[in-house]
């Protein structure tokens, strides 16, 4: 077991890791066999989970080589999820921007209303291959919880979803949807009562249930092989976008914009374009209420390399390594870490990351509703707000694609409350 030594982070402090530069040509050929994206990623979990994590990695390798698995996955993506999702020209948003033509990759039209289903269908099929009968998940906005509950119902698996009590309040509609589909939603009262704490509880559950339970992680985070598996299942977004651009414009887009919490929708649309240096990639984090610690959830913008939930990546931590408090108006972005591949892309200079505040996201939420007749998820509204700024700097013959990762019905009650509060 010496293979991990050269990648081992033991001798490096977080400052040292941050300054190491990567070879851009190798940007797509990650992760390695132990899940390292450059220095990032890895498997920092208790030994108790290693059996399950390795079983998953092995099963995934087998499934990837099995044409029947691919066929089965494609069948459900087409017939159940409703793929491919459209690449829609947002004419009135383009006029508002006054620059590049803006296209929306309509993941909001996928079954359950967000991109999360792409991953849960894939992981549920892997669960069946492993002979496990129960799935668990963490959820923030509830979209991953709903997508997991949906897949579990469709395939007859028992499903428990961990959700912070603060998020249960913010995302009541999704809680009802999960329960309606037979899932038990377990309220998490520890810590900040949001996504990070739900993830802790799901991992603790898995510690005691690994033999018969699969943990469907919802983002490109966690120990290897999760960041790779989730990226691969979400890559259908980028693969379709690429083909749609070639079919429609006979060329690739000039820019792609996606919001980044853990980073699954962004990884999904970015990955198939990573080697196309002419396509600029923009990741948008949650700027929250402002720049002070605890007021935002911009892990790449303000975080440092650290270990959280099984992998090494940019994390918002105290100087002691305790996980810091974070805030975002959007429950799905309210997370102190980010997937290790994003950390790798950031250091390689392949993706430009920035942030959008709560206020800007709320404005974009209303703009898309009023100008396009589409209510976006608050998470996706961050991408829209940034894309409008970016489009203005581009010429009218250029093409900008926004990954519209989810629909905003789930957010309407919370947005109504926030707008009412802002008025008074």
């Amino acid at each position: 077991m010496t293979t991990s030594i050269e990648h081992g982070a033991a001798r490096l402090s977080s400052e040292q890791v941050a300054t190491q530069k990567l070879n851009p040509r190798a940007v797509k050929a990650v992760p390695d066999v132990h899940g390292h994206f450059g220095q990032y990623g890895g498997m920092y979990v208790p030994e108790t989970l290693m059996g399950a994590v390795r079983q998953l990695a092995d099963e995934y390798e087998r499934a990837k080589k099995d044409p029947a698995f691919k066929e089965q996955l494609n069948y459900y993506l087409r017939q159940f999820v409703g793929r491919p999702t459209p690449l829609y020209f947002a004419q009135r948003l383009t006029e508002l921007g006054g620059g590049a033509k803006i296209y929306l990759k309509r993941e909001d039209l996928a079954h359950t209303g967000a991109h999360k289903i792409n991953n849960t269908i894939g992981q549920t099929l892997l669960t069946l291959r492993m002979g496990k009968k129960r799935v668990i998940a963490e959820t923030g906005a509830g979209q991953h919880g709903v997508a997991t509950a949906t897949a579990a119902a469709a395939f007859g698996l028992t499903c428990d979803v961990y959700m912070g009590s603060e998020d249960i309040r913010r995302q009541n509609l999704n809680v009802f949807r999960m329960r309606l589909m037979g899932t038990r939603v377990i309220s998490v009262e520890s810590g900040s009562k949001t996504l990070k704490d739900a993830t802790n509880e799901a991992m603790r559950d898995w510690m005691g249930s690994v033999a018969h339970t699969h943990y469907i992680i919802g983002s490109v985070v966690g120990p290897h092989p999760f960041p790779q598996i989730v990226r691969d299942f979400q890559s259908i977004i980028g693969i379709e976008t690429r083909q749609q651009c070639l079919d429609t414009f006979e060329r690739l887009p000039d820019a792609i914009v996606a919001c980044v919490g853990g980073g699954s929708n962004a990884a999904g649309i970015f990955y198939p374009f990573v080697e196309d240096s002419g396509v600029k990639l923009f990741g948008v984090e949650a700027g929250g209420r402002g720049l002070n610690p605890g007021d935002h959830a911009a892990s790449i913008g303000f975080g440092k390399p650290g270990v959280l939930h099984g992998s090494l990546s940019y994390v918002l931590q105290t100087p002691d390594g305790q996980t810091a408090d974070v805030h975002s108006v959007s429950a799905g972005l309210d997370y102190p870490g980010v997937g290790p591949e994003h950390a790798y892309w950031k250091d390689a200079g392949r993706v430009a990351y920035s942030s959008i505040t709560d206020k800007q996201a709320l404005e974009a939420f209303q703009i898309l509703a009023q100008r396009e007749g589409i209510i976006p998820a608050l998470e996706s509204a961050h991408a829209i707000a940034f894309a409008l700024q970016q489009a203005r700097t581009m010429s009218k013959d250029q093409i900008l694609v926004i990954n519209l990762s989810g629909r905003g019905d789930k957010d309407c009650v919370e947005v109504a409350r926030l707008l009412e509060t802002a008025k008074s």
């Binding site: 030594i5 920092y44 030994e47 059996g51 390399p305 270990v307 959280l308």
Partner: protein, 268 residues
């Protein structure tokens, strides 16, 4: 020779087993921890065991509700990593001579840098580091760095670890092998699994390093059951639960000492 190796060697020579009580640094207060450690050391007697000092972490995924709550309270009361390590140093000042190992999440170690963290532990009179969230794949470089600081590493073997992994993990452990009695988080269990005996025996067949068993052990009877086969029994949640969160340092020390005395009766 490292205090940890010495203690296990002496116990082996005398045919004794060890008790390893777990203490959360900073719970119920920073002032109480050195006194708790001292009281436990008294109850264990010279060479009677090893103290495991938990360094509070915000997101301990391997811990059940009792230890989680103790970490949360310690952090809320201002326990930092430096202050947590300083409790070991203070305990040494009170005359504690038994080995102390730090149980600490790699999130904390990485933030400081492994070499610097290990040195800080050594400076505080700590003899080894338990790595609860480092599997075999990430361990080798970390173990080397810890050894360079003169400390020993303790890695965990789970009931779910296959035989080849157990052997590879044991090869990296130079303090003791921490065998998990159950798959799951820390916390008291009414009954321990019946496969502990055969699993510990199997470990012995592949390693010369001492084997201690932890997770779920909470009574003198269970200590008896475990030390009948293993070199030591680790007790955490049950001990933390005996220490009331509102105790003064003297009360907390008394509560901890009394419970450890009770457990010592079970040591084979």
């Amino acid at each position: 020779m490292n205090r940890l190796n010495q203690t296990f060697a002496a116990a082996k020579r005398d045919g004794r087993k060890l008790l390893c009580p777990f203490v959360t640094a900073g719970y119920p207060s920073l002032e109480s921890t050195p006194q708790i450690i001292h009281a436990i050391a008294e109850a264990l007697g010279p060479g009677g065991g090893v103290i495991e000092l938990g360094i509070p972490f915000s997101d301990p995924i391997a811990d059940g509700p009792v230890i989680q709550a103790s970490y949360t309270q310690a952090l809320a009361k201002g326990c930092t990593v430096d202050k947590a390590l300083a409790t070991a140093k203070s305990a040494r000042g009170l005359g504690v001579s038994i080995p102390i190992v730090a149980m600490v999440s790699f999130s904390i170690i990485f933030k400081r840098g492994t070499a610097e963290f290990a040195k800080a532990c050594a400076d505080a009179g700590i003899d080894g580091i338990v790595l609860p969230d480092i599997p075999l794949e990430e361990a080798p470089a970390i173990v080397d760095t810890i050894r360079d600081a003169g400390l020993r590493t303790i890695l965990l073997v789970a009931p779910t670890s296959p035989a080849d992994r157990r052997a590879a993990i044991a090869r990296l452990c130079d303090g003791f092998v921490y065998y998990l009695s159950v798959s799951g988080t820390t916390g008291e269990r009414k009954e321990l699994p019946t496969d502990i005996g055969p699993n510990v025996e199997a470990l012995r067949a592949i390693t010369q390093v001492p084997v201690c068993v932890g997770f779920g052990i909470s009574t003198a009877d269970q200590v008896r059951q475990v030390t009948a086969v293993a070199d030591g029994a680790i007790v955490g949640s049950a001990l933390i639960r005996r220490i009331s969160e509102k105790s003064t340092p003297a009360e907390a020390a008394k509560q901890a000492g009394a419970f450890v005395k009770e457990l010592v009766a079970g040591v084979q």
